[in-house]
C-alpha cells in the first residue's frame, strides 16, 4: 500500500499519509462509522458520501496544502486507492 511521509513544521513528528491517515480523517472529521472502512472497500461500501469527500478535500488542503477536488477523490475505486491518490499527490507536491 502506498504511504508517503511528509515533514512537518516545528517539533511535530512527520505525517504518514497512508490508509490509516485517510481513515482517521473520515472517522474523526467526517463522522463515518469506522467498521466498514477497510482498504478493499469501495467508497460506497465504506460509507464515503459527498459530505465525507468534501471534508476529506478540505482537510487535505488545510493540512497538506494540496488541492484535490471531491470529483477527483470520488474516482478512487477503493479506500486504499483513495489513500494512494492523496499520497501520490503529496509526493508530487513535495518534489
Amino acid at each position: 500500500m502506498t504511504a508517503v511521509t511528509r515533514p512537518t513544521d516545528g517539533d511535530d513528528p512527520p505525517e504518514v499519509i497512508d490508509f490509516g491517515y485517510i481513515r482517521d480523517i473520515l472517522v474523526d472529521h467526517a463522522a463515518l462509522d469506522p467498521a466498514p472502512i477497510t482498504p478493499d472497500a469501495t467508497l460506497a461500501q465504506a460509507g464515503v458520501d459527498s459530505m465525507a469527500l468534501t471534508v476529506l478535500s478540505m482537510t487535505v488542503e488545510d493540512r497538506l496544502g494540496l488541492l484535490v477536488t471531491e470529483a477527483v477523490l470520488a474516482q478512487a475505486p477503493t479506500v486504499a486507492a483513495l489513500a494512494g491518490l492523496v499520497a501520490g499527490r503529496a509526493a508530487d507536491h513535495a518534489l
Binding site: A31, D33, G47, D49, S50, M51, T54, V55, M58, E70, A71
Partner: protein
C-alpha cells in the same frame, strides 16, 4: 444493492417514479419512517441520516414523480404526490408510517396526514413554512422562464455557477455561519452538488411552478396525529417564527429548534437530528435535550389557519 434494501419502480397516472426501503437492523417497535425532502430528492438522498436511523427503524425514501414527465403536467398538484406516496406504500405492503417531511416535503406530510389519517402514525415536519420562501419563489420563477440550455459551454457553466450560489445562499444562513456547525463544509458540499447536478436541479425546481401560487398548508389545521415541528435555530428559509406558525395549526404538536443549525440541520447536526427523530417516533421524552430548545406547545384553538409571518 445491499440485502436489507430494495427499490421499486412505480408509475402514477403515467408518471414514473421510484421508492426505496431499507429495513432496520433490529426488531421494529414503531412504524417505518417515510422521508420526503426537498425538490431534488432521489432514493439515496439521506445517506447520513439513513445510517443512523436504520439502527432503529425501517426507512422509506421515494423519488417523487417529476410533473414534467406527466402526459399533461397542468393536471397535477399536491394531490398527485400524495396519491403517488400512498400508491408506493400499497406496493410495498405498508399500511402506516411515521412521516418525516423536510422542507418542501413538510406540506406533503401534513396533507397526507389530513387526507389519509389512518396511514400516518406520527408526523414530523422539519423546515416547514406556511408559504414558499420569497427568494426561492423568485428563483423558481426565473428557472421556469429561462430558455433551454444552450450549446455555449462557458455560458452554461456561468449560469450553473450563478444558480448554485443563489440556491445555496437561500438554503444556508451565511450571516450566522460562525454559530452553525460544519457551516463551511456544508456550504462547499451544497455548492458542489448544485454545480454538478445543476441541469437536473433546475429542471426539477422549475417543475414546482404549479405549486407556487397556493398556500402550502390548507386551512383548518390538523388534529388526531402526534406531531413534531422543528428546524435549525438559524433557519432563514423557513424561519423559527414560520415553523412555529405551522406547528400552531396542529393540535397537540410539539415545536422546538435545533441549536447551532439552519435549514440544513440534517447535515450540520446529523447525530442530534437523528436522535430527535428516533426519540419522537418511539414516544420518548424530548425534555432536557441539550442540543435543542425546550419543547413548546404552540397550538391554540384559534390558530388553525397558518399565516405567513
Amino acid at each position: 444493492m445491499a440485502e436489507n434494501e430494495r427499490t421499486v419502480s412505480l408509475s402514477w397516472r403515467g408518471i414514473p417514479y421510484e421508492c426505496r426501503i431499507v429495513t432496520a437492523d433490529r426488531p421494529q417497535t414503531t412504524e417505518p419512517l417515510l422521508i420526503v425532502g426537498g425538490g431534488v430528492q432521489d432514493v439515496h438522498a439521506w445517506p447520513r441520516l439513513e445510517r443512523r436511523l436504520t439502527a432503529h427503524t425501517a426507512v422509506i425514501v421515494p423519488k417523487l414523480p417529476d410533473l414534467d414527465d406527466a402526459p399533461d403536467p397542468t393536471e397535477h398538484d399536491f394531490d398527485t404526490f400524495i396519491d403517488a406516496l400512498c400508491h408506493a406504500l400499497d406496493e410495498l405492503g405498508i399500511e402506516r408510517v411515521n412521516f418525516l417531511g423536510v422542507s418542501y416535503g413538510a406540506p406533503l406530510a401534513f396533507r397526507m396526514a389530513r387526507a389519509h389519517p389512518g396511514r400516518v402514525a406520527r408526523l414530523l415536519l422539519a423546515g416547514a413554512t406556511p408559504s414558499l420562501n420569497p427568494a426561492m419563489a423568485v428563483l423558481t420563477r426565473d428557472l421556469v422562464e429561462r430558455p433551454r440550455r444552450s450549446d455555449d459551454e462557458d455560458l452554461e457553466r456561468t449560469t450553473d455557477e450563478v444558480f448554485a450560489k443563489r440556491i445555496v445562499s437561500i438554503l444556508l444562513n451565511s450571516a450566522e455561519a460562525d454559530d452553525i456547525d460544519k457551516a463551511s463544509t456544508v456550504n462547499r458540499m451544497l455548492h458542489r452538488y448544485f454545480m454538478h447536478h445543476a441541469a437536473t436541479a433546475r429542471r426539477y425546481i422549475a417543475s414546482h411552478r404549479l405549486l407556487l401560487d397556493q398556500e402550502l398548508y390548507p386551512p383548518g389545521g390538523l388534529d388526531g396525529v402526534p406531531a413534531l415541528v422543528f428546524t435549525g435555530e438559524h433557519d432563514q428559509t423557513s424561519t423559527p417564527e414560520e415553523a412555529r406558525a405551522v406547528a400552531a395549526t396542529i393540535s397537540g404538536s410539539t415545536f422546538l429548534l435545533i441549536k447551532n443549525a439552519d435549514h440544513m440541520a440534517h447535515l450540520e447536526r446529523e447525530a442530534e437530528y437523528a436522535d430527535l427523530v428516533i426519540r419522537f417516533i418511539h414516544d420518548r421524552s424530548l425534555d432536557g435535550l441539550d442540543y435543542c430548545t425546550p419543547p413548546e406547545r404552540p397550538h391554540t384553538p384559534s390558530s388553525a389557519a397558518p399565516v405567513r409571518t
